[in-house]
């Protein structure tokens, strides 16, 4: 591992006249999204999540950069709804940008990767949790800082098993994303020894809980929808946040709710103040005027990865940074208690998964006792031996 760094440094030193530019421009491509209807009065609609995280990453990169003569800058592109990323990729390529934070859904990300010029770039997926992007659709020029659905499901499963809440009632929303998460949860259940005793789709029409006396309807609907045999925990897959929040405190049996609502498995949460995260949260809030989301965090990780590599190499040379990011020596401090790195087989950043309550951090997975021959972090998500990535 040290060897890789040494070789890279040697190459840099040997290259005659390769005085690297002193400014590193990192690209960002996001999408305008219609914010989901707020479920409750405390929900803050957010229109710039992801982007604010990338901006903070640039500021943090500059913290070290100013002592090393390295300057970092973000080149932002935000796509209109339905707009293809082709133009954005082309314009970033034209300005010589190599590293791009792709804050895009899976379909648009695939378009971006196929766009002319993208083959010379390294894209950081900071939005799409789709496992297919790490498996059959994986690419050499694609890294993932956002956790995959498999990682989120495994992180949650480990915590529920640790709690001995082994009998799950799986309630699945109507969208393809919900079904994909349910598949990951079923895989995790088999993997870690939980039993899904009830597996049910959510068939009720999305209701508006904010109607006056909306709670009356919910108070009758939810017990009916959750009228099933006994179980330990209701595991909900509702990525669009349409109904999951209605479950807690309303289920037919008195049982905890976990998954996309209730006790949430996530890459980041505003409730995390451990491992020095207080300062990151404070910096973010000062900059953005709101809480840091999991997409902000994934954007921050992407930009910080480039910065960390530039720091260690003491160079802004793009090809050296690309090689170093995938090397065993790369380690990023991400305020989750241990160093983060990229998996060599599918480009996924290995990282702890937070188990977050509405006001406090509940836990962080991997849980004690889940062992692995290489690192406990690789008990989360698709491991080397089972990876279908062949790029």
């Amino acid at each position: 591992m040290r060897l890789v760094l040494a070789i890279v440094l040697l190459l840099l030193a040997a290259a005659p006249g390769s005085a690297a530019p002193q400014t590193m421009v990192v690209g960002y491509i996001g999408q305008e999204r219609t914010p989901p209807l707020p479920l409750g009065p405390l929900d803050q609609p957010v229109s710039d999540d992801g982007l604010q995280g990338a901006r903070l990453g640039i500021a943090d990169d500059g913290g070290t950069g100013r002592f090393l003569g390295q300057h970092f800058q973000l080149e932002e592109r935000v796509l209109k709804p339905g707009e293809a990323p082709t133009e954005a990729i082309a314009s970033l390529a034209a300005s010589g940008v190599t590293f791009v934070v792709a804050d895009l859904d899976a379909a648009t990300l695939n378009q971006a990767l196929a766009a002319p010029g993208a083959d010379k770039m390294l894209l950081f997926n900071s939005r799409a949790p789709d496992d297919a992007l790490r498996q059959q659709h994986c690419r050499k020029n694609l890294l993932h800082t956002v956790p995959s659905r498999a990682m989120l499901a495994d992180g949650l499963a480990q915590y529920l098993i640790w709690k001995r809440w082994q009998h799950w009632f799986l309630l699945v929303g109507p969208h393809p994303a919900d079904e994909a998460l349910a598949a990951a949860l079923r895989r995790a259940a088999t993997h870690f020894g939980a039993e899904i005793v009830v597996d049910k789709p959510w068939t009720f029409r999305p209701a508006n809980g904010r109607a006056d006396t909306g709670h009356v309807t919910l108070q009758t609907e939810i017990p009916a929808a959750t009228q099933v045999g006994d179980y330990d925990v209701l595991v909900v897959a509702d990525e669009a946040d349409e109904f999951g929040a209605y479950l807690e405190g309303r289920t037919a049996l008195p049982r905890p709710v976990a998954g996309t609502q209730g006790i949430v498995a996530t890459g980041w949460s505003a409730v995390n103040e451990e491992w020095g995260a207080t300062q990151l949260q404070d910096r973010f809030r000062k900059q953005a005027g709101r809480w840091m989301t999991a997409y902000d965090y994934a954007g921050w990780l992407a930009v910080r990865s480039v910065g960390e590599a530039a720091t260690r190499l003491r160079s802004l040379d793009a090809s050296a940074i690309t090689a170093y990011l995938r090397s065993d020596d790369f380690l990023l401090a991400g305020f989750k208690g241990q160093g983060l790195s990229f998996r060599s087989w599918d480009g996924q950043m290995r990282q702890p998964i937070l188990i977050a309550g509405p006001r406090l951090l509940v836990s962080s997975s991997p849980q004690p006792g889940f062992l692995h021959q290489r690192t406990p972090l690789d008990t989360l998500g698709i491991d080397l031996e089972e990876s279908a990535c062949r790029s």
Partner: protein, 320 residues
């Protein structure tokens, strides 16, 4: 009886220094400083301080204990004779760690949230200067001659060398990821800096500011992510350094000449900081996750006792 008393007395005299000392431990979750009697190795009381106490240091006359209470943005002054907070000092925002300058008049405080080092005049209770450093300043050290103050910045991965007189930044040295503690060797010739994420200690030559070596830690059965270097304490003769290894639950004893790890002591869970007794025969670690401190007898090379002190022990200072 007449024979027994002289024998008892002589035993007490032999055990003198250890018997007289007191161990102070900051409990960051309890908002207290636990007081542990050195002779009996038992908890005697807890002093209420401000919110989230972490860094601590004795005044030069060893009569006062300064305690950084981060969530209250100040330093509490504990009178050790009265065992209570008798005053406060300003510190700048979110103080985590600080050092008392050998002149006895000034504190150098890392303001974790403001990317600053604040200089506090103790007598006037005023911040008399600030130094811009990297993102999330944390560890602080001062050379014995008082010339240099060092500050680590966690996110910037650097140690900043500050001229304690002019408050100029003399140099910024890149270190391994997420540096935590810094410590000058007693002769001032070396600066040691621990890296939490990389699990290493980098040793710098203070004069040339070049890297003079690196200490690597390997703990059998624990992956590299689980070995994280945090607190550093050096013996007065400069021959040995003790490094707390955080989640690896170990204290490493390092030969400062060869940089080899001589041995590992298994202590409580997640030791943050360590302190040596005045006679250099005993080491105490503050173990954050198990809520206790571990006493290590350095002559017998054994962990002899663990004492529960409260929730979230972080800093440890041994005083009179």
């Amino acid at each position: 009886m007449q024979v027994v008393i002289p024998i008892l007395l002589s035993v007490l005299i032999i055990a003198g220094p250890a018997a007289a000392e007191t161990i102070y431990v900051s409990n960051e979750q309890d908002n207290t400083v636990a007081v542990v009697e050195g002779a009996s190795m038992s908890l005697s009381t807890a002093i209420n301080v401000g919110r989230r106490p972490r860094g601590m240091a004795l005044s030069v006359d060893r009569k006062l204990l300064f305690v950084a209470v981060g969530d209250d943005n100040r330093i509490d002054i504990v009178d050790l004779a009265k065992r209570q907070v008798t005053g406060q000092l300003p510190s700048g925002v979110d103080p985590e760690f600080f050092v008392v300058h050998p002149d006895g008049k000034r504190l150098f405080v890392a303001n974790e949230n403001d990317n600053l080092v604040s200089v506090v005049d103790i007598a006037s209770a005023k911040v008399i200067g600030t130094v811009d450093v990297g993102v999330e300043p944390e560890g602080m050290a001062v050379s014995a001659d008082g010339h240099y103050v060092a500050c680590t910045s966690e996110t910037t991965s650097m140690v900043h060398l500050i001229d304690a007189g002019t408050l100029d930044l003399v140099d910024n040295l890149l270190v391994d990821t997420r540096p935590r503690a810094a410590s000058f060797s007693p002769d001032g010739k070396q600066l040691w800096v621990s890296s939490e994420i990389r699990g290493t200690v980098t040793v710098f030559d203070t004069t040339s500011r070049a890297e003079a070596g690196k200490v690597q830690f390997e703990v059998p059965g624990i992956r590299r992510e689980g070995v994280q270097a945090v607190g550093i304490e050096m013996t007065r003769d400069g021959a040995t350094a003790y490094v707390a290894l955080g989640p690896a639950n170990r204290i490493a004893e390092v030969d400062t000449r060869t940089l080899a790890v001589r041995r590992l002591y298994l202590v409580g869970q997640r030791p943050w900081h360590v302190a040596l007794s005045d006679d250099q025969k005993r080491l105490v670690s503050a173990n954050g996750n198990s809520g206790d401190i571990s006493f290590i007898d350095l002559e017998d090379e054994a962990v002899v006792k663990s004492v529960p002190v409260g929730r979230g022990p972080w800093g440890v200072v041994i005083g009179p």
